[in-house]
Each structure stands twice: as C-alpha cells, then as structure tokens.
Amino acid sequence: MSAALELEGLRKSFGKAEIIRGVDLSIGRAERHAIIGPNGAGKSTLFNLITGRFPKTSGAIRLHGKDLTGLAPFEINRLGLSRSFQITNIFPKMSVFENVRCALLWAQGHRYSFWSLVSRSRELNEGAEEILEQINLTARRDLPAGVLSYAEQRALEIGITIAGGADVIMLDEPTAGMSHSETDYIVDLIREVTKGKTLVMVEHDMGVVFGLADRISVLVYGEIIATGTPEAVRANPKVQEAYLGAALEAEH
C-alpha cells in the first residue's frame, strides 16, 4: 500500500538558519499520526511546508504519490489535503453556517460558478447542516463565527477542515489553549470526524497524543529522532532524553 503522505529529505532554511534539517517520513492511509517535539523544533514549519504555505528549500513531498513541488495551497487542497491552523483561522464576519458551506463549495464542484445560487443546492445546504451537527454547532448556526467561544471556534475550524471531504487532514495544535473538558470534547470530535481518514497532527498535550495517535514522530531541532507506536516512542531512550521526559514530568 502506498503512503498517503511521504516526505523525503525535506529541508527548509530561513536565511542562514536551517529549521527543517532533512525530514524523512511516511504516513500510511487511514493512519493517525502525531508530530511532537519541544517548542521551536519546527513542527508548524513542517506543516506549512507540506501545505504549500512556505516553499521548501529541498527534498520532496508526495501526497498519494504525487509530487507537491511548486503547487499553491489551493491546488494542494484540491488534491485532497486539508489543514487547520495553530491560531484559529476562520471567516469571522460570516455566519457559522456560511463558514461551513464555503468549505463545501469546491469539493462539491461549484468552482467559480456565478450562474447558480448557493441556496438552491440541496446537497450543499444539507451537507453543511450535517457538518454542523457533527461538530455540535447547529444551535450557533446563524451567529457570526467571530463571536463564538474559543473552543467553539476551534470546533468550527475542524469542521471547515474536514468539510471538503479531504482524505488527509492536518491539524495544528487542535487543543491549544483549551480547558480539560474542552480538550476531551475536541478529542472525541477529532476521533469521530477523521474515521477512515489520514490524520496528521501537531500536539503538545501528551494525553491527547497518546490517546489518539497510531504512530508518533518526535521532531527535535528540525530532525525526526524517532517514529513509532506510542509505546515504542515512550520507551525510546533518545526521546526520553531529548524531550519526552521533561514533557511528561511537566504534565504531572
């Protein structure tokens, strides 16, 4: 089986500073993969390289075997990769419903249509309602997204991310800044909505990571020092030394 997402010798420099220093990673279909590591390890940069937000310096990124070199974010998205952001990234002035509906437009083949009305496509509106139901925001349907609570905005962002039906979902710190109960809610939500899909996520909360991920990669100073099942990574002495020991201690 070919990998859903494959990184090969990926490097990224900002000026003289090399942030990603040769990353090789292969993430299988329907795998839940977490990327962890200390602050400044380059986790978000890695995300931004994969999704075309920044151009890479060298190496290769392949989505379902297709090289992503030189593609713009919208082109990468059309190939079936969708992402959320570390800082909530929604359409604040539009209603919650509109946010989700916009996320469905391209996937349902509406393209740049100016000859059809969004309100007249049942598939579109019912699809948006279904997503709202899934992310538990039906009651907030008509509010401007900007007035939702933080956890609700994060849930909405996950909704927008999955709405297009992309089979590779990338979530950048989905539980950052959340209380325990909110975290539990979001984790359940992520588990629910990414069923059968490839999930790649960056996360700081070790509880979330070990509860959700099938495999974990540990990124330290732009290099992956270990990849494996949660148990293997937890037992890896290199990981213990570089990162996990301190991180797990901080949890308690």
């Binding site: 919208f74 992402r83 990234n89 359409f91 509406h110 249509s113 100016f114 009305l117 007249r120 049942r122």
Partner: protein, 429 residues
C-alpha cells in the same frame, strides 16, 4: 457545468418566497410611482442621476464591501462604458447600426467588462494596498489618455451624441426625460437584482470568504486571486451599465467621468451608505445625490458639508447609514424603540440644530469675506440676514452653542437609554 445540473435537478431548498420578493416588488412600485409624486423635469433629472449613482455604487460595493478591494479608480469602467455608448449613439445617428435605445447600456456593460477583464488580470493578484495603488495608477493613466486618444475620448470637450436615433420602443423615442427615467429605472431594477443574485452564487460567497480571510479560502481549494478577479469583472460590467445610462441621460461624456474625483466620489457614496450591507450603497447614493443636487442649489459650500458628513460617518459610524439603521434592529426586536424616542429628541435634535447653526456661521463668514463690497444681505435658512450684523452673528453663534451644549448634556442619557434598549428583559444583550 455540473453545478447547474445539480441545482436544476433538485427542487429548490431556498426557493422564492414572498418575504424575499417583497422588498424588490416594493422598490419596483416605488420607482414606478415616483414620477407622479415629483413631476417637474428637474426632479426627474435628479432621480435619473440617483438611479445611475445607485447602480455605480452597488457595482463599486461588489469590490469594497463584498470582495474587500479598495479601488481608487473605478470611474474608469463606468466612464469607458459611457464613452462607448456615446459612440454607439453616434453610429446609430449615422445609420451605421440600428437598435432600440434600451439595449444600449448592455454594450456599455460589455465594454466595462472587457476593460475590467484586462486590468483585473494583473490588478487582482494582490489585495490591500497593492490593489489600491494599481487602481489609482490605472485610473490616472486612463484619465490622462482622455486628452491623448482624442478620437475616442474627444479631448477636453469630450464626446456628445443624440439618444433619439434608436428604433422606437412601443412608440417611445426617448425625447423626454420621463421616458429616460423609466428606461433607467428598468436597468436599475435589473442590475440591482443581478448584483444581489451574484452575491448569492458560489463565487459571490467566496468573495466574502476571501475578504474575511484570504489564506483560509486558499486552503479550501479557492485561489484568492481568481475569486477577486471574478468579482472585479462583474463589478466592471455593472459599472459599464451605469456608464451607458449616464450616456443616455446626459448625451455627453468628458474626462470628468473617468477621473480621480469621480472615483473618489463613488468611494465616498458607498462608504457613506455602508459597505457591510447590500442596500447600503443605495442609501448612500440617494443621500449623496440629494446633497449634491439640492444642497448645491442653496450653497456654494456644499462640498464642505458633504466632506464633514463623510468624516463624521467614518469616525462615528463605520457601518455607514445602513449600519446605523441596522443598529436599531435589536431594539426594534426587543420592542424597546420607545425608550430611544425621548433621548433622541433631547440629544440628537439639539445636536442637529447646533450643526446647522455652525453651518449658518460658516455661510455668514463666507458671505462676509467673499461677497461684493456693500452686498451684506444674504439668505440663511429662509431668512434674510445681514452678514455684517452683530445681532445676526450673536444669534447664530448662540444657537450653535446652545445646540451643542444641550446635545453634550444629553449624551450620557442617550448612552444609558441605548444600553437599556439593547438589553433583553432579564439578560445580557
């Protein structure tokens, strides 16, 4: 065209209902009876001007309000559409082509669209400052062309034509202003409806999304650049239609229709009305046209007042007049409009009187400085006053001071009443 098939194949989820149609039917009825209320020719001319400005402002708001693009050169597309239409009128006069006059604005629209497609192909790559600067540059460029490409723009005197050479429609030859009024009103309704519908299409919705958060839109599969491009072209088309109607109405176009002043005017109109609402620019165009035509008859300083109103709007009501109206939806729904009546009367009314007093003082000062020596009599608010009389000066200053003092005194009460009116019984707002 899969999306078309999809939408047609399924029954309408959000079909036409009376609630949706009511405002449009009312607007159509309103337009139909207006000439019977204001019958004289000058009033009809003002209404024509208003209708044209409404179309132009709505087209402009497709950029500014819907798409988040600040253009300083949108007069270009209206102007070019207008110039083209005057040339077509002249060809009709020469017998080169023949068609009914009501079709003419469509050609203005296509000409505006063509130019928008050309200019937009590079100006919409970036939003924000880059877009604004390119629009400014292109605006200046085309305006400068008007004295260079004399064959099209007619140099300094512009180009003029005669609208009456089209094929008569039901016997109408468009000799009279009233016939032109109904032609303009027809295009106003059609353009406004189409622009509204455009905002409800996938690309229209994505225009809002790109305005709010271009990066997120990209990660949903849409190129922000192409979304902007489509809005820009559509806006150019409707601006061209407005230009065509201008050509029919005035039968002359000059450099003034292309230049920066006109582009700035439409920005002002749209912002004054409110960019956040579809109907905002309509209010803006009506208010502005009234100010520009009626106020102009009474004072040379009308632009000063329009400028002051604009600055006040930007500072205090960034949502424009439409935003001001929309602010009252919540108190209305709560049934608390009554709470606001008294503070409005005791605060806003003195404020308006103070403002008028200040305007009166300005007029007197202007008259005292600029009128011919010995000419002391001037008309001020339906009164005859002397601009050199200390009594008149004392009176106008006293009214101003008293008005502002009362308004200032009432302000905290107004604020309290406003908060009260926005509070649901037993809960936060």
């Amino acid at each position: 065209m899969t999306s078309l098939d999809q939408t047609r194949a399924r029954p309408a989820a959000g079909g036409l209902s009376l609630a949706v149609l009511a405002p449009w039917l009312m607007a159509a009825l309103f337009l139909a009876i207006m000439p019977f209320v204001f019958t004289d020719n000058s009033a009809i001319t003002i209404m024509n001007q208003m209708a044209i400005t409404i179309i132009f402002a709505l087209a402009y708001n497709m950029l500014l309000g819907q798409g988040g693009m600040l253009s300083f050169g949108h007069a270009v597309y209206m102007g070019l559409g207008g110039f083209m239409c005057v040339h077509i009128m002249n060809w009709m006069e020469d017998g080169l082509i023949t068609m009914p006059l009501p079709l003419l604005p469509l050609f203005g629209g296509f000409f505006g669209l063509g130019f928008a497609m050309l200019i937009g192909s590079f100006s919409t790559r970036k939003a924000g400052t880059v877009f604004a600067m390119i629009s400014l540059g292109v605006g200046e460029l085309i305006a400068a062309c008007s004295v260079i490409v004399v064959v099209f723009f007619g140099g300094e005197e512009g180009v003029s034509g005669d609208r009456t050479y089209g094929i008569p429609v039901f016997g109408f030859e468009f000799l009279h202003q009233i016939e032109v009024y109904y032609l303009t009103a027809f295009w106003l309704m059609l353009s406004a409806a189409l622009m509204y519908l455009f905002s409800r299409t996938p690309v229209g919705r994505m225009a809002n999304a790109v305005r709010d958060n271009p990066e997120r839109a990209e990660f949903l599969g849409y190129s922000q650049r192409w979304v902007r491009y489509y809005s820009f072209c559509a806006s150019g088309f409707f601006a061209g239609i407005a230009g065509g109607l201008f050509a029919i109405n005035y039968e002359i176009l000059t450099e003034e229709n292309l230049n920066l002043a006109t582009s700035g005017m439409i920005l002002l109109v749209t912002f004054l009305g409110g960019v956040g609402f579809f109907f905002g620019p309509i209010i803006g165009a009506i208010v502005f046209t009234l100010l520009a035509t009626v106020l102009k008859l009474h004072t040379e300083l009308w632009q000063l007042y329009v400028g002051a109103i604009f600055v006040a709007t930007v500072m205090f009501f960034p949502g424009g007049l439409a935003g001001l109206l929309a602010m009252h939806v919540a108190p209305w729904r709560l049934g608390k409009m009554g709470v606001l009546v008294k503070p409005y009367l005791t605060t806003l009314l003195p404020g308006v009187i103070g403002g008028l007093g200040l305007a009166g003082a300005t007029e007197m000062l202007f008259h005292a400085r600029e009128a011919a020596t010995g000419d002391e009599a001037m008309g001020l608010f339906f009164m005859e006053v002397s601009s050199h009389s200390p009594v008149a000066w004392a009176a106008v200053l006293a009214v101003t001071a008293a008005g502002f003092w009362l308004a200032r005194r009432g302000a905290p009460g107004l604020k309290a009443a406003w908060d009260e009116a926005n509070t649901a019984p037993g809960g936060r707002r």
